[in-house]
């Protein structure tokens, strides 16, 4: 077992463990904070997958942006953070059955499928991908990139508008 493997398992455990806390915790605040670790773990896994740029993006966007948003949402929709938020559950039994089946199915498919593997895998040099992404964004992927920026703009404006109208009420 080399260092790579150890790091992988470490992140895997962090990711899955914290995700479980997110899902099964009774208090919503715990869930929110556990989500932080999940994002970190996922970022680590990105690194292991030679996606350094994405890992950084993950941290910035998710931890810095989305998580903060979520925490705000939690605070705004509940009276106080300290009080135990009874975030009840529903559909437990059918959900458990369906999810268990689904997990089994996914796992089974992933496990048994004979994936196409690149032959040059072993030759890949571990270098940064930032340059490549940058090039791609302004060459081959320029149209999606532009659309994405428009979407973001619309989202930001829309969100602001909704929040404001609500304030008027």
């Amino acid at each position: 077992m080399n260092l790579y493997d150890i790091i992988f398992y470490f992140f895997a455990v962090v990711t899955v463990g914290s995700a479980m806390v997110v899902v099964f915790s009774k208090k919503i605040v715990y869930s929110a904070f556990a989500l932080l670790f999940t994002f970190f773990g996922v970022a680590g896994i990105y690194v292991l997958l030679n996606a350094d740029f994405l890992a950084i993006t993950q941290l910035l966007v998710y931890v810095g942006g989305i998580l903060v948003l979520i925490l705000f949402g939690v605070m705004l929709t509940t009276n106080t953070v300290t009080i135990d938020i009874k975030s009840g559950t529903m559909n437990l039994i059918p959900a458990t059955i369906v999810i268990a089946l689904l997990a089994g199915m996914l796992g089974g498919i992933f496990w048994t499928s004979d994936w196409f593997m690149s032959k040059q895998f072993g030759d890949i040099v571990h270098t940064t991908t930032t340059t490549e992404i940058g090039n791609a964004l302004i060459t081959t992927h320029v149209l999606p990139f532009e659309i994405a920026s428009v979407v973001l703009l619309v989202a930001v404006v829309g969100a602001a508008m909704m929040a404001r109208r609500e304030r008027n009420n």
């Binding site: 529903m90 559909n91 059918p94 959900a95 369906v98 199915m105 498919i109």
Partner: protein
């Protein structure tokens, strides 16, 4: 059939006539039924005595009459298969006839007074009649089939007599126990008979022995011959109360005391010994060895228990067991004549002891009744004491009996016991089993000790209750005469004119060893050699036995008469041993906890199994069938009949069903979506 056998038949059937008359007309005779029974038995006794003398003075070895009872009209191993039965009289039978009728007669006589006023007086005499009949049947038969028949009938009459006072639970229990324990032994007897019959297709003694003598061995193996002998001996284990089936005899003391004298001391329990004597020719050396050990162990265990008992009848019961063990041991070591002789002498003095104890109990009972005392146990020797002066005849006769059983010279007991002990010495000389004579002598000492303990505690010393002893009187003539007769018979001169050796008396002359039939390779020591060796050992045995008996008597006197040794102190010091012996080695508890409990447990479990499982399966099958019927009925009324309606309702039902799915909750929809997706995945991928 020769005339003497007609007499034998008459002897056999007279008690049966007595039984039939008394059972059907007993109510009418009431008080007289005792006299009628006694009269019949008196006639029977006279005939027996006549037959005895005519046999003794006859040159014939045996008078035999056999006829075919059941002919199966088929052949097995080229022998016609039929059941032959019949009667025979040889010297052994002649002696036994006298013994049985004499003691039965005396007991009838004794009971006239003892059982006076009993609620079932005539039933009692009827039962005595059928007992005597069956016992005589055992004695005169010449085959194992009739032997088994009478054997069981003896068991039945014993059951009836032990349970005479059946209102008492202990009496009813004792009767039941006696019958069942005997049945266990009889089971072995029966299996032995089966082996014999399957092999020889005959059950007459002479037929079997001549077949074996001709080299015909069961299933071609001497082991089966040994097994057959031992299985037949099982019958004796039951009837003669040998270890490990001895437990019924002490309980059988619940019966009236004269019954104990007749059945459980002199005759029925001796039937086992008689059976071994009859079977003697077909017993191999191995079988004899086992028999000897059974006898020795029985003699030892019973003697140790007898030491600590306080109930006078219990003491006598265990001494009976012990003496029976002696006889069986005697036969087992090969001292045939000595064993049989001890059977005869013991019958006289043990019956005497029981009748004497009956006399004492009768007197005690009377006195206690007079005092209005219903708590004191009339049979406990500790409440007796000092009866010597009050009941002189009883005392003197019981003294003679005690001397006889202890083996003091000039008594009959000395002669027979001495011969058995000499036999054990000879036995150990030939095959080195020295433990047998050691037990023999040790038990002789124990016997002397506990018998004198009983005598001293009950009759000598002071009576503790002045008022009670004033009411104790000697029993009436009708009770003391039998005692005196039996006391007279306990002297040596009836058996041999030489007081120190029986081997030249008439008994040994007439009661010769039977011819051994088993193949020489598995037979015990040849008779001539063995008898020769007994003669050599005779003097040694005599000196030792007298010495040991004297020692036992001396010990009893020092402990209980002069009180030089404190019995209580001993008892305290050896508390566990005492308790162990007092509780009879815990045999009853052991059997209750194992065999009885196991049988009852299995019975309960099986009954449950039967009701719950076997019947449950049946009922289950029924329910399943019923359920299927209901389902198919429903199918008919709902599906088939309602097919039309169903079509009409389908739309409505599906609408309703779908409506319930529309919960309005988005998460529920997601579940459906995922389930659907998975279904598709399964369909395409899986």
């Amino acid at each position: 059939m020769i005339p003497q056998l007609t007499i034998a038949l008459a002897i056999l059937f007279i008690p049966l006539v007595s039984f039939v008359i008394l059972i059907f007309f007993g109510k009418r005779f009431a008080e007289k039924s005792g006299l009628i029974g006694t009269a019949f038995l008196g006639a029977d006794l006279l005939l027996s005595v006549y037959l005895f003398f005519s046999k003794m003075f006859s040159e014939d070895k045996v008078w035999d009459f056999t006829f075919t009872w059941i002919d199966l009209h088929t052949v097995i191993n080229s022998i016609p298969l039929k059941l032959d039965i019949g009667i025979m009289v040889d010297n052994l039978t002649a002696v036994m006839l006298v013994v049985v009728t004499l003691i039965s007669f005396l007991v009838h006589l004794f009971s006239l007074e003892y059982m006076k006023g009993d609620v079932r007086y005539s039933r009692y005499y009827a039962n005595l009649g059928i007992f005597t009949f069956s016992m005589l049947g055992i004695v005169v038969t010449n085959n194992y089939l009739l032997m088994y028949v009478f054997w069981e009938l003896v068991g039945l009459s014993s059951y009836l007599l032990i349970g005479h006072w059946y209102e008492k639970k202990s009496a009813a229990d004792a009767g039941k126990k006696a019958f069942i324990v005997n049945r266990v032994g009889d089971l072995g007897f029966f299996i032995g008979i089966m082996i014999v019959w399957v092999q020889f297709s005959t059950l007459t003694f002479s037929g079997i022995f001549s077949a074996i003598g001709g080299g015909n061995i069961p299933f071609g193996s001497t082991n089966w011959l040994t097994a057959a002998g031992l299985l037949i001996f099982c019958g004796a284990i039951g009837k003669s109360a040998q270890f490990p089936l001895h437990v019924w005899l002490p309980d059988a003391m619940e019966g009236p005391t004269p019954v104990s004298a007749l059945i459980h001391a002199a005759t029925m329990v001796a039937a086992g010994v008689y059976l071994v004597a009859r079977t003697f020719p077909m017993l191999t050396a191995d079988a004899l060895l086992v028999i000897a050990y059974f006898g020795a162990v029985t003699a030892f265990i019973a003697a140790t228990i007898a030491i600590v008992q306080n109930d006078i009848k219990k003491i006598l019961a265990y001494s009976t067991v012990s003496q029976l063990g002696y006889m069986v041991m005697g036969l087992g070591v090969g001292a045939y004549t000595a064993g049989v002789m001890h059977l005869v002498t013991h019958a006289a003095f043990k019956a005497g002891l029981f009748l004497a104890s009956g006399s004492v109990i009768h007197a005690m009972h009377h006195a206690l009744h007079h005092q209005g005392d219903h708590h004191t146990d009339a049979q406990d020797i500790r409440f007796m004491g000092g009866l010597k002066s009050k009941m002189p005849i009883t005392f003197w006769t019981i003294l003679i009996f005690t001397l006889a059983i202890s083996g003091v010279p000039f008594t009959s007991g000395f002669l027979s016991k001495d011969e058995i002990l000499a036999g054990t010495l000879a036995f150990s000389h030939f095959n080195g089993h020295t433990i047998i004579p050691i037990i023999g002598f040790f038990v002789a000492g124990l016997t002397a000790f506990y018998m004198f303990r009983m005598l001293i505690v009950a009759f000598m010393g002071e009576h503790q209750n002045k008022e009670r002893i004033a009411h104790i009187h000697e029993s009436p003539r009708v009770m003391t005469v039998p005692l005196m007769v039996l006391a007279a018979l306990s002297f040596f001169f009836f058996f041999s004119l030489n007081p120190l050796s029986a081997s030249h008396g008439w008994f040994f002359e007439k009661m010769t060893y039977p011819t051994v039939a088993v193949p020489a390779t598995v037979a015990a020591t040849p008779t001539e050699e063995f008898v020769e060796e007994i003669h050599h050992q005779h003097n040694l045995a005599m000196i030792l036995s007298v010495g040991i008996a004297g020692l036992g008597i001396l010990l009893a006197f020092t402990t209980y008469f002069w009180k030089k040794i404190s019995a209580d102190a001993f008892e305290k010091a050896l508390k566990p041993v005492h308790t162990f012996l007092y509780r009879k080695w815990y045999f009853d508890e052991l059997y209750d906890a194992t065999f009885v409990a196991a049988t009852m447990g299995i019975a309960k479990i099986l009954a449950w199994f039967d009701g719950a499982i076997v019947d449950g399966i049946v009922n289950g099958a029924g329910h399943v069938t019923k359920f299927i019927a209901v389902v198919s009925g429903k199918f008919d009324s709902i599906v088939v009949d309602g097919l039309v309606n169903f079509t009409a309702f389908t739309a409505g039902i599906s609408g309703r069903l779908l409506r319930t799915v529309q919960t309005g909750k988005i998460q529920t929809y997601i579940i459906f979506a995922i389930a659907g997706m998975m279904a598709l995945m399964m369909f395409y991928i899986g």
